[in-house]
């Protein structure tokens, strides 16, 4: 009886469940849902295949473009392969310039500077006293202003030896450059003001990061007295992409200050006279600049010339003094991978002289040759030293400020010098250099003392 009751209750429950709405539909709807999911799955698989095909197509297109760019680069050497590259570069530069201009409201101005501090140790002494010294040799400020895209001003003010004595015995505060450029065309532009006399190379390129010795080459002290500036006006430009020129009409030198050390003291640093003017020009030529191979692409040949009167003393005409100075100079520089060579030479003629100091030569001659080698291993250029460089160098300087003497004037053979300089320049960053060198100084007369020099120089 009890079993029968259980069966009745169980059957009732089943009947109740079976009577719930949708029960029968659920059974048939599940199958439909499965079919729907299968359709969706097939759609997704199909979409995935399409996308895979698209990716493969794009991959092939990228590979093709890369190949074309590579081919163009190989054919055209350093040139950008396609116009798109040039547009991209232009955009990059414009963005960088804009970003910089946003950074400063002084964007028409340009500021810079350089400086050098030297320690000089001489092997000899004077009257038993050491001449070793530390010298804040130069501290220079550069200020420029862009009046317009084609009118630019530049200036250079320099403090030498840290302090200017009242009597001017040591230390100088001087205006080395102040000129305005009118940029008219590639061929001819006008420059007006105080410019660096364009003779040899160092005179115009004298920042301490541009040369490897602690002191400038002696050639650039005694033969081309760097820093030598001239006041006047002239033209500059490019006769071709690999040939540039500068030509100026300038105030001349003061021959009354010439000495047996040459023309150095004849530079007029304040207000030069226009009594006896001079012309000067230079050419810089890169004969192999277009080479596709690296060899010789950096070779630069320079030729320069100066001719002018020397009666400019006493801020005007200097009675009883006269003469003409002519200078022929040549210079070159080249970098062949890690090897760097450079040099310069000059001949000076002082003619028709009257009333000059006894001992001033009629002919002055000098030259220097330098070889440098970049020794910093690439493997060391990492981290803080990623942009570093180190150069060992050797230089021979010859300077003879008594090369040709007027009749009856004795030669001072101490002034016929030949010096060797050996050293190392280390650039932890490109714009700062630590230098050390040893100088073996000799002459046809009494030898000067050899010297050890240490220095730090910077430019920004």
């Amino acid at each position: 009886m009890k079993k029968r009751m259980h069966s009745v209750v169980l059957g009732g429950c089943i009947a109740l469940v079976a009577m719930q709405p949708g029960f029968a539909m659920a059974a048939t709807g599940g199958e439909a849902r499965i079919q729907e999911l299968e359709r969706q799955m097939q759609g997704l698989v199909s979409e995935l295949k399409n996308r895979q095909n698209s990716i493969e197509t794009l991959t092939r297109q990228v590979a093709s473009l890369e190949s074309r760019i590579s081919t163009n680069s190989a054919v055209q050497g350093a040139g950008p392969g396609v116009g798109q590259d040039k547009a991209e570069i232009k955009s990059m530069i414009e963005q960088a310039v804009l970003a910089r201009e946003k950074e400063s409201p002084l964007s028409p101005f340009s500021f810079g500077g350089y400086g050098e501090i030297h320690a000089n140790f001489n092997e000899g002494s004077v009257n038993g006293q050491s001449r070793d010294q530390i010298d804040v040799h130069r501290l220079v400020g550069l200020v420029g202003y862009e009046f317009a895209d084609w009118i630019k001003f530049k200036s250079e003010i320099e403090l030498e030896h840290a302090f200017v004595e009242e009597d001017g015995a040591k230390g100088e505060l001087e205006l080395e450059q102040a000129y305005v450029d009118f940029l008219l065309s590639d061929l001819a532009n006008v420059r007006v003001g105080r410019v660096l006399t364009p003779l040899a190379h160092t005179n115009q390129h004298h920042e301490p990061t541009t040369f490897y010795s602690v002191e400038r080459p002696n050639f650039d002290k005694y033969i081309i007295p760097s820093t030598w500036w001239s006041d006047g006006l002239g033209l500059f430009g490019n006769l071709a992409p690999n040939l540039s020129y500068e030509a100026y009409l300038v105030a001349g030198l003061d021959g009354s200050k010439f000495s047996n050390d040459g023309i150095r003291n004849g530079r007029i640093k304040d207000v030069p006279s226009l009594n006896d003017m001079a012309v000067t020009f230079r050419l810089d030529y890169y004969p192999f600049m277009g080479n596709t191979s690296a060899w010789g692409r950096n070779l630069r040949l320079g030729a320069s010339f100066y001719r002018g009167g020397i009666n400019n003393g006493v801020e005007g005409k200097d009675p009883g003094k006269s003469g003409d100075l002519t200078i022929y100079a040549g210079d070159f520089g080249v970098r062949l991978s890690d090897l760097e060579l450079k040099g310069a030479g000059a001949i000076e003629e002082i003619n028709g002289t009257q009333g000059l100091t006894v001992g001033v030569a009629e002919e002055i001659f000098g030259y220097y040759l330098e070889a440098g080698y970049h020794v910093m291993p690439e493997a060391w250029k990492t981290g803080k030293l990623k942009n570093s460089d180190a150069v060992v160098f050797a230089r021979y300087d010859k300077q003879d400020t008594q090369h040709g003497m007027p009749a009856g004037v004795a030669v001072n053979s101490d002034k016929d010098r030949h010096d060797w300089t050996f050293g190392l320049a280390f650039y932890p960053v490109p714009n700062l250099v630590l230098k050390a060198d040893y100088q073996v100084l000799a002459s046809e007369g009494a030898d000067p003392d050899n010297a050890i020099n240490l220095g730090i120089g910077w430019q920004f």
């Binding site: 350093a78 040139g79 116009g83 570069i89 028409p108 040369f211 500059f236 006769l239 992409p241 022929y328």
Partner: protein, 104 residues
């Protein structure tokens, strides 16, 4: 002395003659091969050699990456004696040369 003078004067003459002959050759053949685009590159290289060496040792475009150059160049625009167009040609050359040097 006369010999030395002759050598220097001769060198001066030779450089001038070479340069002028280079001008003629350049005008005839194009210094970087045919194509106006390369003419711009040649100018850019000339500006680079002339302007950058005023303050720097021999530096080559390959010493910095193409990504580093724009920021470096942007700081130089007012310092060089170049118009905007000329400065752009200098920049084109420097970055293209840097890219070419770094390319595998």
């Amino acid at each position: 002395m006369n010999c030395l003078k002759s050598i220097l004067a001769g060198s001066l003459f030779a450089v001038s003659a070479l340069a002028l002959s280079g001008c003629v050759a350049g005008a005839r053949d194009g210094l970087f091969g045919p194509g106006a685009e390369n003419s711009g590159m040649a100018k850019g290289r000339g500006y680079f050699m002339r302007e950058c060496s005023k303050c720097h040792r021999y530096i080559m475009p390959s010493e910095r990456s193409a990504e580093e150059w724009p920021k470096i160049l942007a700081g130089k625009k007012n310092k060089v004696s170049l118009t905007g167009t000329q400065f752009q040609e200098l920049s084109d050359y420097v970055i293209a040369e840097s890219k070419a040097a770094k390319a595998p």
